[in-house]
């Protein structure tokens, strides 16, 4: 039992340190940490860009940053949040956790794993390098519709660097998904059957299948766009028999599954956090696993709901398919409530963020069903209603889950428990700030405010709602600063932590030291249920664990 061995001994360092060790590492935990730190760095930049956007829009008819800079800012904000923060943060936490949760020493293909990280990093830097190119960075929005993104309209090198950089991150995602898929299937410890895998690992399996189906079409779309730009390919050029709607099909064939690549891992995070702080086994394990695959499967057949207003797709079919996603998502919500039901809930910071996730994502889901109805989408599409909707899923949803994950696994990864008082301050400012920012946008959208405008006329009501949204963004910024401060002050108070600092954690990563040794486990505990760590630490209750 490593808990006994660790008691009294000095806290162990992770593995070899030093710049060279980090540059050449193939260890899944170090690669996970590299992903987490890199994505948080990108998050800080994208957050700063959000502040620029809200400053410009705080009052009507302002011209603080100007049209072109504003267009670059929202393009880079969306691109960074989606491609360089939320999705790859999931890859980072999964990189760290999957081998630990399976009882493996590392990923199935460690060098492929490292290669994936470096492709991701340099892909991101390539996108950002466009800012310094002649003509500035890309400014065609995060989905870069043609002909807006073609060479005649967006002639700058920034747009090329955008396509090239994101192609690199797309390939990185494909390579990483292969590891996430193979490792839990092939490298499970004795006793760890598939039906004992933690829900988080299951969600990563579903996510990986989505990546393998959805990312290659994106790579193809970007390759075609680049050929249009530089080799007169005319794939999307209507003056030469090409079709701009084809670009939308290939982009959203990736783009909608990508939404679930960003949220399914977070569903896994939320499941684990709620069960630990409710002090009960996960309720409806099988339903949670299968609903993840149902969401993944359905999400491959709904892409054209992004294109209702093109007049070029079968609106009723894609509307019905999109509605159906509410069913497995509803199953998840009810199972989470079932997990809390008759529990003994405590509200440490990870649990606060998990409950914040539930309340925010609920709005994201309800507005999602709304915009899946074409008669509603004809108003909501391209408006601030849509901006509010997807921020409720990816900001109020994924971002809140990301902070739940950081507070929850910080002691495991860095051997440091973050301060609870700063954590509570972080949560409440972020929760209030987030809703102050995005509730007004729901109304602005219904009232007719389009997205992606750098300025707007002084129409009654618009100025007030925009000002409230901008003040909310200030609160979010303060909350993120509080998180950074929390990491700094908490890291100063380093003390030896037990294997399970939360007291009721159950998945296998809590059965090894915090942080774990280089090969993860000095000795594996017996795995006889879905809760190996819980059985190890509370043998008197082991008989109650779900088999």
């Amino acid at each position: 039992m490593s808990a006994v061995a660790a008691a009294g001994a000095p806290p162990r360092r992770l593995v070899k340190h030093g710049i060279l060790a980090w540059l050449s590492t193939t260890n899944h935990k170090q690669i996970g940490i590299l992903y987490i730190c890199t994505t948080l760095f990108f998050f800080a930049i994208a957050g700063f860009l959000a502040d620029v956007i809200r400053l410009q829009l705080a009052a009507p008819q302002q011209n603080i940053v100007g049209a072109h800079a504003y267009n670059e800012a929202f393009t880079l904000h969306g691109t960074t949040m989606i491609f360089l923060f939320i999705a790859p943060f999931g890859f980072g936490i999964a990189n760290y956790l999957i081998p630990l949760q399976c009882g493996a020493a590392d990923m199935a293909f460690p060098r492929l794993n490292a290669f994936g990280y470096w492709l991701f990093l340099f892909g991101g830097l390539t996108v950002f390098s466009g800012v310094f190119a002649a003509g500035g960075g890309a400014s065609a929005g995060w989905y870069a519709y043609t002909p807006l993104s073609d060479i005649r309209v967006s002639s700058g090198v920034g747009q090329d660097l955008w396509f090239i950089g994101l192609t690199l991150t797309s390939i990185s995602g494909i390579l990483t998904a292969i590891n996430f898929l193979v490792t839990p299937i092939v490298f499970r410890a004795p006793g760890m059957t598939m039906w004992r895998l933690p829900v988080f690992t299951w969600e990563m399996i579903a996510t990986s299948l989505l990546i393998l189906m959805a990312f290659p079409p994106l790579t193809a779309a970007f390759a075609m766009a680049l050929m249009d730009r530089h080799a007169n390919a005319h794939f999307f050029d209507p003056t030469r028999g090409g079709d701009p709607v084809l670009y939308q099909h290939t982009f959203w064939f990736f783009g909608h599954p990508e939404v679930y690549v960003m949220i399914l891992p977070m569903f896994g995070v939320i499941t684990e956090v709620i069960a630990v702080f409710s002090r009960k086994p996960v309720f409806g394990y099988t339903g949670l696993v299968l609903s993840g695959f149902a969401i993944a499967g359905l999400s491959m057949g709904v892409w054209a709901h992004h294109m209702f207003t093109t007049g070029a797709v079968n609106d009723p079919f894609f509307s019905a398919m999109s509605f159906l996603i509410a069913v497995p998502t509803g199953i998840k919500f009810f199972n989470w409530i079932g997990t809390m039901w008759r529990g003994a809930l405590s509200f440490e910071t990870p649990m606060l963020f998990a409950i914040g996730f539930l309340l925010n994502f609920l709005i994201g889901g309800i507005t999602g069903v709304m915009v899946a109805s074409p008669p509603i989408d004809f108003q909501a599409n391209g408006s601030y209603f849509l901006v509010a909707h997807f921020h409720y899923t990816l900001g109020g949803g994924s971002m809140f889950a990301i902070f739940a994950a950081l507070y929850f696994w910080f002691p495991k990864i860095w051997g440091v428990k973050l301060d609870e008082r700063w954590g509570r301050f972080h949560f409440w400012t972020m929760f209030v700030g987030f809703n102050m920012t995005f509730v007004p946008m729901l109304f602005l959208g219904m009232m007719g405010m389009p997205r992606r405008v750098y300025t707007y006329p002084a129409i009654p009501g618009w100025a007030d709602l925009n000002l409230v949204a901008s003040i909310g963004t200030v609160l979010i910024t303060i909350s993120v600063a509080a998180f950074v401060w929390n990491v700094i002050v908490s890291s100063r108070k380093r003390e030896a932590l037990p294997d399970d600092p939360w007291g009721s954690a159950y998945t296998l990563e809590w059965a090894t030291s915090s942080p774990p040794p280089e090969l993860n486990f000095d000795a594996l505990p017996p795995i006889r249920s879905k809760r190996p760590a819980f059985d190890l630490h509370h043998p008197e209750l082991a008989h109650t664990s779900p088999p």
Partner: protein, 233 residues
């Protein structure tokens, strides 16, 4: 207590209905009903599920800090089947609301009463009335005006001469993309005279924010006079 919470959640739904413009076109009337039903259903789901979340969190908070496990139940098959079927029923009902409205809005009236060709370009619009020989050309500095007859169905034939735009009249609850190489047709049947702002809703480059227009709905007689005056000019 739960009822007070429920009445609180009705407020945003009502506010939502108030924020949605109404009684402008026949098509908007159909879509406005869909909005109202979805807002009400959405508020109901939010109260039910959000209430359950908050109730579970508050009612089952830990009272004894030493407890490691509250209870060990982890499944209930009848309950799980029930909450799989319930959302299927709800979304099926919502689809039944959606489908007829969608068909009503998207099906074109034959033959069209009036035809206007609309072309989007960076960063304004051109409105062409082929029967009346009227052309209205806008610029970014002086946005054009689209004049429509009241109580008649006008078919808009929409296209673009450069990048993708989106023709949006918020008061009509409707927008459609203007795509180069494609002509997108849809109907407006305005029900009352008035002036309504219109905007581009698909990001189209630097001055997307200034790509606006207005819609003026005139009684049929006045529309004919307007058209005659414009074609003479």
């Amino acid at each position: 207590m739960l009822r007070r919470y429920a009445s609180l959640a009705v407020l945003p739904a009502l506010a939502g209905c108030a924020a949605i413009p109404h009684d402008t076109t026949v098509q908007a009337g159909a879509m406005q009903r869909v909005w109202a039903i979805f807002l009400a259903a959405g508020a109901g789901v939010y109260v039910l599920v959000g209430g359950l979340i908050l109730w579970a969190a508050l009612a089952y908070r830990r009272r004894d800090p030493a407890v490691v496990q509250a209870t060990a139940f982890h499944s209930n098959t009848p309950l799980e089947i029930a909450w799989t079927i319930a959302p299927i029923v709800v979304v099926a009902a919502l689809f039944l609301v959606t489908f007829p409205a969608e068909q009503h809005v998207e099906n074109l009236v034959h033959p069209p009463g009036e035809i206007v060709q609309v072309v989007g370009f960076r960063w304004s619009w051109r409105f062409v009335y082929p029967k009346e020989h009227v052309v209205v050309q806008g610029t970014m500095q002086s946005p054009p005006e689209l004049v429509l007859p009241q109580n008649r169905t006008t078919e808009i034939r929409l296209s673009s001469s450069d990048v993708i735009h989106s023709f949006w009249v918020p008061a009509f609850l409707f927008k459609r993309m203007a795509i180069p190489g494609i002509v997108n047709a849809f109907d407006f049947t305005p029900e009352r005279p008035g002036v309504f702002p219109g905007r581009c809703a698909e990001y189209c480059g630097t001055y997307h924010a200034h790509m606006s227009f207005t819609v003026r709905v005139l009684p049929p007689g006045e529309f004919v006079r307007w058209a005659r005056m414009r074609s003479a000019a």
